[in-house]
């Protein structure tokens, strides 16, 4: 009886809001909850990467969603809220690159992402050459390990637009 959002109490919503630094309004959190329940097919309270077979979009981001519960799901998506700071968005992009999570982005990490974006349309050698050339022009080398502050320096002035609207019925 009633719709699924009645399973969330006001306390739950406020807790989630806090966890994501108020990036989303209460209405948006309710919509995200409906969506989370839809994605959580087996009702275990967390999403697993296989459940995304039905969403025909990108793999790299979806892998990061593996095993998240609802609170973490909302915190993850908070980088896409219009209320999120530029710093937060750049941090998110950094985390996408830093696959082993050690706070340092290597040449290979960047190569992997470039590979995802260009697929078979640039082969391995040219891909490495492109990345090396562009890195050197920016003052880095193939062996450089980029950290968060480097990303802020590179992306900070670019007018980064990374926003998603949560549909609120």
């Amino acid at each position: 009886m009633g719709n699924t959002s009645s399973m969330l109490t006001q306390y739950d919503i406020e807790e989630v809001q806090q966890h994501c630094n108020n990036a989303f309004s209460q209405q948006e959190i309710l919509s995200l909850y409906d969506r989370f329940c839809q994605l959580d097919r087996n009702g275990g309270g967390f999403i697993s990467a296989e459940e995304f077979l039905s969403v025909p979009e990108f793999a790299r981001l979806l892998r990061m969603l593996d095993g998240l519960n609802f609170k973490e799901f909302v915190a993850f998506l908070s980088a896409f809220s219009p209320r999120a700071t530029l710093q937060h968005k750049i941090e998110f992009i950094f985390k996408v690159y830093d696959s082993d999570g050690n706070g340092k982005v290597t040449f290979n990490d960047m190569l992997d992402v470039l590979h995802d974006l260009t697929g078979q349309f640039i082969s391995e050698q040219p891909r490495e050459q492109v990345l090396t050339q562009v890195l050197e022009e920016a003052g880095y080398t193939k062996e450089s390990l980029l950290v968060m502050s480097d990303f802020v320096k590179i992306l900070g002035s670019s007018g980064l637009k990374m926003e998603v609207e949560v549909p609120v019925d």
Partner: protein, 376 residues
């Protein structure tokens, strides 16, 4: 520094008879903006457009929405309405349901006791036999519709029996076929189902001239396409009914129409079906319930209310491709039935999407990277 040769290889073209070119359907605004100027590190590191698109799909994807059952909001959670509702449940399950089962049983008995003799006794007189079998199937469908108290309003001119025409309709449940069949003896093309439904398909529906396919068999498509063409040419065959969505959708959205029905070189007559959710949601969510459960749900509700519109027959316009024709007809049906159009292929419900979509994006990004690298 020597120039870097762009090793661009084009993606292998798959012989995709049925998969529409998805790029033709996506709104043009969704493509990544075209940057200019020399390639910089930040252009490679800035994956925000890609991430935004992916996050957009995570937050809300128009594909899963098509197959979500949206039952009407319950109104009974209230002190004085609740007992009334309980009383209603009692009537529906203890009075209406048994009566309906009896009606349906009578219908089956009448049908079987007539169709078997007709089938064998009139072996030599094929025309008469077919006419009687058609009538009996129509009768059986009427009994079915009565068994869930179907209140169906038909609008528009009734279909005529002419060769070189095909009927298309949006698809919500297998009862679509029954509702249409009680008015006109259509021949239909359907997925072969297991169980008792399959039994009915192979015996009774054979008499109205139905065509079977198997979604999972790729080679099947050519065989089926040929059968379709042969059927339409025949003067005496029943008009063919096709559900071009290829799968059941929840009656609020429409997914892309497969072009198969639109490249047969004949007139296409659209039919729009819209169910009123006032008493029951007629969407058959085949992933959630079997057809038997679905029928039981319908038989224990007050009524199934729906509107059927027979729309103006359409022909392929000069210079129009079959895909454009399919989209135009989908537009006509969606507007009439109040459905929102989404650019997805219904078969994605059963299998992974074709990699062509991602490949196209990769190709355009790769080309842009290599081009901008050369700029000074």
């Amino acid at each position: 520094m020597s120039g870097i040769e762009g090793k661009l290889s084009s993606s292998s073209s798959e012989l995709d008879l049925d998969r529409p070119n998805i790029e033709d359907y996506l709104p043009s605004g969704s493509s990544i903006h075209e940057p200019r100027g020399k390639l910089r590190l930040r252009d490679l590191l800035d994956i925000s457009p890609t991430l935004t698109e992916a996050a957009g799909a995570i937050v809300d994807d128009s594909f899963t929405r098509c197959f979500k059952s949206n039952p009407p909001e319950p109104w009974n959670w209230n002190v004085y309405l609740f007992p009334l509702w309980c009383f209603g449940v009692a009537i529906r399950y203890l009075v209406l349901f048994p009566v309906r089962v009896i009606v349906l049983t009578i219908g089956w008995i009448l049908f079987l006791s007539s169709v078997i003799p007709v089938h064998f006794l009139l072996k030599g007189h094929d025309k008469l036999r077919e006419k009687m079998e058609r009538f009996l199937v129509e009768l059986l469908c009427s009994f079915f519709v009565a068994s869930w108290t179907g209140v169906v309003k038909y609008h528009g001119p009734r279909p005529s029996m002419r060769p070189k025409q095909v009927f298309v309709a949006n698809h919500t449940s297998m009862i679509d076929f029954i509702i249409l069949e009680q008015m006109t003896p259509f021949a239909v093309i359907m997925q072969k189902h297991p169980g008792w439904v399959g039994l009915i398909q192979s015996t009774i529906l054979e008499s109205v001239g139905c065509i079977w396919f198997n979604r999972s068999e790729a080679k099947d498509r050519e065989i089926v396409a040929k059968k379709l063409r042969d059927h339409i040419q025949g003067v005496d065959n029943n008009p063919l009914l096709i559900f071009p969505e290829g799968t059941c959708v929840n009656n609020q959205y429409s997914v892309m129409f497969k072009k198969g029905a639109f490249e047969l070189g004949c007139t296409v007559c659209p039919i729009a079906i819209k169910y009123n959710k006032i008493f029951v949601d007629a969407f058959w969510n085949s992933r959630k319930q079997s057809f038997t459960m679905h029928l039981l749900q319908l038989m224990t509700s007050w009524a199934v209310v729906c509107d059927v519109w027979y729309l103006e027959p359409q022909n392929l316009k000069p210079g129009e491709t079959p895909i454009e024709f399919a989209e135009r007809v989908r537009d006509i049906i969606s507007v009439r039935a109040g459905l929102k159009k989404v650019p997805w292929d219904g078969y994605l419900k059963y299998s992974r999407p074709s990699p062509k979509h991602t490949e196209r994006k990769q190709q355009s990004f790769a080309e842009s990277v290599l081009r901008r690298l050369e700029e000074k």
